[in-house]
C-alpha cells in the first residue's frame, strides 16, 4: 500500500469557539494533506469521533465558516490559483456542509434544488440539466426528481443534500453524523457516496462525525477523537482533540475491516471514555 503525502489541504491552528462565557472547543490543531496513491484517485476521508456534547458540531460549524472562531484560524488549499500550498482562510460556502437532519429548501423539488446549487456555474442551462440528470441517475434519485423534501425518504434527502454540496462547494465536504438513524441499505448508499466523491478528484476531502466507531475505522484514513482534555489531573470542560489515529501510517487505510481494525476501535473507545 504505497502512498505519498503532498500539499496541505486543511490547516487548523489554535482554533477556539466560545458561545458567550462558555468555551465549547479550545486549542484545536490539526493538519491534513493530500494523499496520493499510484494508479488510483484517492480523496481524503477524515472521521471525527467523540462523546456527545464534546463540541463536534461546533468544530464543524467553525470548519465550514458558519461560526466565527473566537481565536485561531482554519485554512484550506486555494486550488483556484494552481500554486502549490497556496492557502486561504475558510469562508461560509467554501466547504460543503450536510447536517444531521439533511436540511434542504422545503419549497424546491430535488431538481430545482440541484439547479439552484449550480446557479453560479458558468455552464449553459442544457449542460447543467445534463449534469443534474447524470447525478440523479448515478445516485438513484431519477424517480424522485420532481418531489419536494417532505415527500422523500431519509436516504433520498441525504443523497440530495450531498449532491447539492458537491455541485456548489469546492473539494471539501463536512457531514455531521451521516450514518445516524440509517438502515443497512442506506448506510451502504452513503459508503458508496463516499467512494464516488473521493474517487472523482485527488483534493476531495470528506470530514464526517459518527458515533459508530467501527464505521469510522472502516472508512476513514485519518481519525480524530474530540473530548475533554485532562490537564494537571483535572478534567476540563471544553472540547479539544485528545487523540489522532493515522490509519495510513498504521497501514490499515483502504483495507477491509479486520482484526487490526478492532484493536484501533478499542483504543479509540478508551480515549473517548477517558475524555
Amino acid at each position: 500500500m504505497n502512498y505519498t503525502i503532498e500539499n496541505t489541504l486543511l490547516y487548523v491552528e489554535d482554533l477556539s469557539v466560545a458561545y458567550g462565557p462558555k468555551m465549547v472547543i479550545k486549542d484545536v490543531n490539526f493538519v491534513e494533506k493530500d494523499v496520493l496513491r499510484e494508479g488510483k484517485v484517492t480523496g481524503q476521508v477524515i472521521a471525527v469521533v467523540g462523546r456527545s456534547g464534546r463540541g463536534k458540531s461546533t468544530l464543524f460549524r467553525a470548519l465550514t465558516g458558519l461560526v466565527k472562531p473566537t481565536s485561531g484560524k482554519v485554512l484550506i488549499a486555494n486550488t483556484a490559483t494552481g500554486l502549490d500550498n497556496d492557502a486561504k482562510e475558510v469562508k461560509e460556502g467554501d466547504i460543503g456542509f450536510v447536517n444531521q437532519k439533511y436540511t434542504l429548501f422545503r419549497n424546491k423539488t430535488v431538481y430545482q434544488a440541484l439547479m439552484f446549487a449550480l446557479r453560479n456555474n458558468q455552464e449553459t442551462k442544457e449542460q447543467k440539466h445534463e449534469q443534474i440528470m447524470q447525478y440523479l441517475k448515478d445516485w438513484g434519485l431519477e424517480s424522485v426528481k420532481d418531489q419536494y423534501p417532505n415527500e422523500l425518504s431519509g436516504g433520498q434527502r441525504q443523497r440530495t443534500a450531498i449532491i447539492e454540496q458537491i455541485f456548489c462547494s469546492g473539494h471539501y465536504m463536512v457531514l455531521d453524523e451521516p450514518f445516524s438513524g440509517l438502515d443497512v441499505g442506506n448506510i451502504e448508499a452513503v459508503k458508496n457516496a463516499f467512494d464516488l466523491i473521493t474517487a472523482s478528484h485527488e483534493f476531495n476531502t470528506i470530514i464526517y462525525s459518527t458515533h459508530d466507531i467501527e464505521l469510522a475505522v472502516e472508512l476513514a484514513d485519518s481519525i480524530y477523537v474530540i473530548g475533554y482534555p485532562t490537564i494537571d489531573g483535572k478534567l476540563q470542560d471544553y472540547g479539544t482533540i485528545v487523540k489522532h489515529v493515522d490509519m495510513k501510517e498504521l497501514e490499515l487505510a483502504w483495507k477491509d475491516f479486520g482484526l487490526d481494525h478492532i484493536e484501533v476501535v478499542k483504543q479509540i473507545k478508551a480515549a473517548m471514555m477517558a475524555s
Binding site: F97, T103, L104, F105, P149
Partner: protein
C-alpha cells in the same frame, strides 16, 4: 359504544360523520324546543328565516359585497406593511421597530380612531385604516413568530450553498415561507372579520354587515340579528376554507 368515550380512540370516517350529525341535530332540536314558549331568549327558527328574507330583500348580497371589499382592501394593505416589517426585522437595526409595532396590539381601538379621525375625513377610508392599523399589529406578531420558528439548520444550509445574507433572506424566509404567510392570514382572519363588523357598525360609510347588525340591534329584531350572525359566520368560514384550499393547492410541500 364504549370506544366513543375513550380518549385518543381512532374512529372510522363514517362514525365521525355520524357524531357530527348527532351534534347538529341536537343543536337544531334544542333550538326548536327552547324557542317554542312565549318567553324565550333566542328567536325561533321561523323568526330567523323571516329575518333572512327581510335582509335579502333589503340588499343583503350588496352588503356582504361591501364588507368583503373592505376586508380585502384592509387585508392587502396590512399584509404588505406587515410583511415588509417582518422581513426587515432580520436586520438588527430595524428589529426594535418591528417588535414595538407588534406590542401596539394592546392599544385600545378608541384611542387610535380618535387620532385617525383627525387625519382622515372620509368614513370609508377611515374604516380601511382603522382595520389596517389593528391588523398590521396582529399580523406582524404572527409573522415574527413564523420567522423565529425557522431552524438554524435552514439558514446554515442556504449559507453553505454560497448564499449571501440577502439571498438567505430571500430563499429561506421570503420564498420558503409563502405558504406560512397564507396560514398566518387565515389564522388572523377571525379577528379581522370580527373587527370589520365592529368597525362598520361604529363608522357608518358604505353599508356592510356591521351596519345591518347595528340597525337590527336598534329595533331589537332578534330574528334578523341571529340571521346576520349566521351570515357573518358563514362568510368568515368560507374565506377560511378558500385560503386553506389555496395553500394546499398551490404549495404541495406545505404541511403545516
Amino acid at each position: 359504544m364504549k370506544h366513543l368515550f375513550t380518549p385518543f380512540e381512532k374512529l372510522t370516517k363514517n362514525t365521525r360523520l355520524l357524531i357530527v350529525l348527532f351534534w347538529i341535530i341536537s343543536v337544531v332540536v334544542i333550538w326548536f324546543v327552547s324557542s317554542m314558549g312565549e318567553r324565550h331568549l333566542f328567536p325561533s327558527p321561523q323568526q330567523v328565516f323571516t329575518g333572512f328574507k327581510e335582509l335579502y330583500n333589503e340588499g343583503l348580497v350588496v352588503h356582504i359585497g361591501s364588507s368583503l371589499l373592505l376586508c380585502f382592501k384592509a387585508i392587502i394593505i396590512a399584509v404588505v406593511i406587515s410583511l415588509i416589517l417582518t422581513y426587515l426585522s432580520t436586520i438588527p437595526v430595524v428589529k426594535p421597530i418591528t417588535t414595538a409595532i407588534s406590542k401596539l396590539r394592546y392599544l385600545p381601538l378608541t384611542g387610535i380612531t380618535f387620532y385617525l379621525a383627525i387625519i382622515i375625513s372620509d368614513a370609508r377610508t377611515m374604516q380601511v385604516w382603522v382595520l389596517v392599523v389593528f391588523m398590521s399589529t396582529y399580523l406582524t406578531t404572527s409573522l415574527l413568530g413564523m420567522v423565529a420558528a425557522i431552524s438554524q439548520e435552514e439558514f446554515d444550509h442556504a449559507r453553505s450553498l454560497k448564499c449571501n445574507r440577502w439571498e438567505v433572506l430571500w430563499e429561506v424566509v421570503v420564498k420558503g415561507r409563502i405558504d406560512h404567510v397564507i396560514e398566518v392570514i387565515r389564522q388572523n382572519l377571525a379577528i379581522v372579520w370580527m373587527m370589520l363588523v365592529t368597525v362598520e357598525s361604529i363608522l357608518v360609510a358604505a353599508g356592510g354587515l356591521g351596519f345591518l347588525i347595528k340597525n337590527s340591534d336598534k329595533f331589537m329584531n332578534h330574528g334578523r340579528i341571529i340571521a346576520l350572525q349566521i351570515v357573518i359566520l358563514g362568510v368568515g368560514l368560507f374565506i377560511d376554507f378558500v385560503l386553506d384550499y389555496l395553500r394546499k393547492t398551490f404549495f404541495r410541500y406545505s404541511k403545516i
